[in-house]
């Protein structure tokens, strides 16, 4: 199959590494000194440094959540991780300033091409700091701010500080505390009142150094009536020892605003991907998470929306694919906190080989609320005999006129469908691939075009060799 060979090359795209001479390196392990070092290098305000120290204490006092989560978490050795690495502090403003090595990495990832495809702004993160960051001038003129967290908290404190750490408090969970202690890199975005950003903003994240944990922090604020779409893609080269990625992403949609956040996660199969993502939706606003998890050893990620204002709407569309040695523990949280709020969760997972995919959900409608609605659908597809899938939703409903429906199903690819396609001349693998694509197709359609193509390819690659 010609196409397959072509794709095989693509697959190795992320599997390379350049010797990089790190200008700033906080060393191995985590202690108050690490925090001071990071704060020093970044020249952060005292309140940020204090925020980090407090977070470190919380991180250390919290136990691992293994009473409900997988025991695999115990495999993380926090004392062997590098918490901060950087090649320099200022993000380069033009493509020419980017060091040649890093440019090579990004060229292989296709970032310059992405920009040519009229993306509004590209923020590519190489380990901890943005190595390249530029936005179309038109957007800057509209007052859209698209920076990293260091710059965001320094230059635009009045905008970002009021919401920073408010949607996801430091003590939310052990890993949000870890991120709050050592965060570095990520995107801080502010879209002013009524501004509708037509092109999606985009960021690429890579983990390059071995044993390096990546702790990016993202905060997106869409002011009244604003609209923005943010896309992140993640790749990491393959390393011998496990790496940790623990991000915190906070979204704030003020009255009538719309935020759409799209993730395609394709970390290599030794990355622990433990991410906390949550949005705060004010009156009549809409927050939508589109979340695809294809890579990593263990992903634990449950994007959530707190529906704080009347008639706010939250949505999570999630696709997970777990292959041999992978556990995709994903899901969604919908916390209704105002009348007439609605939420929708559609989760589809595919387990291939010995892969395990898990859906964990939380829907809460407390007693003083009226006329809230939630709809949840989770479908799991099992490809091989020893594939595994679990579903663990938790739903609490009180109040007046609220309604909730949850539905889940587990199935395999229909033998009749495969037979039909084979009788039409397709190979078994091609028929399987078509059938799997059909399973996720209605979700993939919701994605911007470049992403849906990339996603379909990634899934085809993962499926290779799993049939026959």
């Amino acid at each position: 199959m010609d196409q397959a060979t072509q794709l095989e090359i693509d697959r190795e795209k992320g599997n390379f590494r350049y010797e990089t001479d790190y200008a700033f390196d906080a060393g191995v392990g985590l202690s108050p000194a690490t925090i001071d070092y990071i704060a020093e290098v970044k020249g952060e305000a005292p309140w940020v440094r204090e925020f980090r120290h407090k977070a470190l204490n919380i991180f250390e006092s919290k136990p691992m959540p293994t009473h409900w989560a997988t025991k695999d978490l115990e495999a993380i050795n926090f004392s062997k991780i590098r918490y901060y690495l950087s090649q320099g502090q200022k993000p380069s403003r033009s493509w020419d300033d980017v060091p040649v090595d890093i440019k090579k990495t990004f060229e292989r990832l296709g970032i310059p091409e992405q920009e040519r495809k009229f993306l509004a702004g590209v923020e590519a993160q190489f380990d901890s700091e943005a190595a390249y960051s530029r936005m179309k001038e038109g957007l800057s003129k509209l007052g859209v701010i698209f920076v990293g967290p260091t710059e965001g908290l320094k230059e635009h404190e009045e905008i970002f500080r009021p919401w920073f750490g408010k949607v996801i408090p430091t003590g939310d969970n052990k890993f949000s505390a870890l991120n709050s202690a050592v965060f570095s890199g990520g995107s801080f975005i502010y879209v002013p009142k009524g501004v509708k950003v037509k092109q999606p903003l985009q960021a690429y994240f890579r983990i390059n150094a071995e044993n390096f944990g990546q702790f990016e922090r993202t905060l997106i604020i869409a002011d009244e009536g604003a609209e923005v779409t943010y896309m992140e893609g993640c790749t990491a080269p393959k390393f011998e020892t496990a790496t940790l990625h623990s991000a915190v992403v906070e979204l704030v949609a003020l009255k009538g605003a719309k935020i759409q956040y799209i993730t395609v996660q394709n970390w290599s199969n030794n990355v622990f991907n433990l991410v906390t993502k949550r949005g705060l939706a004010h009156e009549e606003s809409e927050i939508r998470w589109i979340d695809c998890n294809i890579g990593s050893r263990l992903t634990m990620k449950y994007p959530g929306v707190i529906l704080k204002g009347r008639r706010a709407r939250g949505e999570v569309l999630s696709i997970a694919l777990a292959n041999d040695g992978q556990h995709q523990d994903t899901g969604a949280k919908m916390i209704h906190a105002a009348d007439e709020t609605t939420s929708n969760i559609i989760a589809k997972s595919i387990s291939v080989g010995k892969g395990r995919s898990t859906y964990r959900g939380l829907v809460q409608i407390p007693k003083h609320l009226k006329n809230c609605k939630n709809n949840t659908e989770c479908d799991a597809l099992l490809i091989n005999a020893n594939s595994r899938t679990d579903t663990y939703p938790a739903i609490t409903v009180r109040g007046e006129g609220n309604s909730v429906q949850h539905e889940a199903s587990v199935s395999k690819v229909s033998a009749e469908q495969i037979f039909y396609m084979r009788s039409r001349g397709l190979s078994e693998a091609a028929a399987m691939s078509l059938s799997v694509n059909g399973f996720i197709n209605d979700l993939v359609r919701e994605f911007p075009m470049e992403y849906s193509v990339e996603l379909k390819r990634l899934i085809e690659l993962e499926m290779e060799g799993s049939v026959g």
């Binding site: 009473h67 409900w68 387990s351 007693k367 009226k370 799991a380 099992l382 490809i383 091989n384 005999a385 020893n386 594939s387 595994r388 899938t389 679990d390 579903t391 663990y392 939703p393 938790a394 739903i395 609490t396 409903v397 009180r398 109040g399 007046e400 006129g401 609220n402 309604s403 909730v404 429906q405 949850h406 539905e407 889940a408 199903s409 587990v410 199935s411 395999k412």
Partner: protein, 452 residues
């Protein structure tokens, strides 16, 4: 809940069921065979090893996922003791004024003491059917009991209660139906709390031979306006190949009572088992249902109807364990919530790697009739075989305003329309009992909850 219990008979330290001497006296008085005494001691050791069971009661581990959403106050054993004297008053006839139930045999316990017994017919006895009080069965059929009594491990979180149950349970019924024997009538066991502050440990053990047919009804209630009671009951159904077992149970204890109950069902090859449970009473009731589809081609139907009112809490945990291939299971749990009541449904379908062609379904429907009521739903799936069809659904809503409007437009009063829709919601489960006497009884009990 501890409030209600303290209000009852004043506790005397020497009768607390958590005390060593109380257990030892109980054990000595029972004069049981060695194998059983050992099972009791083993269970008692578990009770003691668990420091969380004390005179103050049974603590609930907040971090245990199997207790998620449960009220965390723990279960008080304060003031709860074995009944000292046999109850001499009159016990109610639950079928009075309606269809009488056609019984194959009947056992009635009051305060865990046998108070009435209708033995089975000579014809059934000749066919080899055994239906006896537990104590008598232990004496007469030790080999059968030894093989099956207290034998099944459950992992649904109620281990502490089950240990206590195993240490103390003597009031129970034992039913054995040999291979190829079909009994169309119902075996009926009634357990009454008749005195305030009494502890109950009802046990039911049903062994259905290959291709046999069995109907069984367990009823748990409070007679004589008895107030507080603490029940830790368990029932085990072992269905042989091709056996058709239909078990029904209804719990209607007083609103001051605490209830823990475990149902364990093991289905053999091509067995066809139905279990219907109706939960109406107790201040706080935890019900665990563990079912193992152990034989290929087995078919299991699990149904429950819960009507929660006032400040009642019903905590239901179910587990459909598919071990054998080609088995089917179908679960339907319906909860109606009034006042400030609360229901929890946590269900799990587990398909083990060897259980191909499993077809499993799980459905939880909650009807919220008051904004202050709370319904929690945790429907779960753990699937380790790809050749299966498993689905679950959970819905929570109020009555459909359009349906109400339609009925009112046809001239029905608001109240009648409301009742018609609510009782219609129950009917899906009630009709499945396939027994007019019992269906009538359940309707009467269900409506009783709306009388206030």
């Amino acid at each position: 809940m501890s409030v209600a219990l303290t209000e009852s008979a004043p506790p005397t330290a020497s009768t607390s069921l958590a005390l060593e001497e109380v257990f030892q006296t109980d054990l000595a008085q029972a004069r049981e065979p060695k194998w059983l005494a050992e099972l009791r001691l083993e269970a008692w050791a578990r009770v003691n090893r668990d420091a969380k069971i004390s005179e103050n009661g049974i603590a609930v581990d907040k971090k245990d996922e199997r207790w998620r959403f449960s009220g965390h106050k723990g279960w008080s054993l304060e003031g709860v003791a074995r009944a000292k004297n046999k109850f001499t008053g009159k016990l109610p006839d639950i079928f009075a004024g309606g269809h009488p139930l056609t019984c194959a045999g009947q056992l009635t316990y009051a305060d865990d003491i046998l108070s009435a017994q209708t033995p089975i017919s000579a014809k059934l006895a000749n066919q080899g059917v055994i239906f006896l009080p537990l104590a008598e069965a232990i004496a007469k059929h030790p080999e059968l009991l030894r093989e099956h009594l207290f034998k099944h491990d459950r992992a649904l979180g109620g281990g502490k209660f089950l240990s206590l149950h195993q240490a103390y349970s003597r009031a129970g019924s034992f039913l054995y139906v040999p291979d190829n024997v079909e009994v169309p009538e119902t075996f009926f066991a009634a357990h009454w709390a008749a005195t305030s502050g009494v502890a109950l440990f009802p046990h039911t053990l049903i062994i259905a031979g290959a291709n046999s047919k069995v109907n069984f009804l367990d009823f748990y209630g409070s007679a004589n306006d008895a107030g507080a009671a603490c029940m830790a009951g368990a029932a085990t159904v072992i269905a042989g190949s091709g056996a058709r077992v239909f078990r029904k149970s209804a719990q209607n204890l007083s609103v001051e009572a605490l209830s823990y109950h475990d149902d364990t069902i093991v289905c053999g090859r091509d067995a066809d088992v139905k279990n219907i449970a109706v939960h109406l009473g107790a201040q706080r009731a935890r019900y665990e249902s563990y079912s193992k589809l152990n034989g290929p081609g087995a078919n299991l139907e699990l149904c429950a109807l819960t009507i929660a009112s006032d400040r009642q809490e019903f905590d239901q945990r179910t587990f459909q364990d598919h071990v054998a291939p080609r088995a089917t299971s179908n679960l339907l749990y319906k909860n109606a919530l009034l006042d400030e009541s609360r229901t929890i449904f946590a269900g799990m379908i587990r398909v083990e790697p060897g259980a191909e062609e499993t077809d499993a379904y799980q459905q939880n429907r909650n009807l919220l009739l008051n904004p202050a009521a709370e319904a929690d739903s945790l429907p779960g799936l753990e699937i380790q075989n790809q050749n299966v069809r498993c689905t679950h659904g959970a819905t929570t809503s109020r009555l459909d305003p359009e349906e109400l409007f339609y009925l009112r437009s046809r001239g029905l009063s608001k109240n009648t329309a409301y009742q018609l829709l609510v009782f219609g919601f129950f009917e899906e489960v009630i009709q499945r009992v396939e027994n007019e006497a019992l269906a009538e009884l359940l309707r009467k009990l269900a409506r009783g909850k709306f009388g206030k």
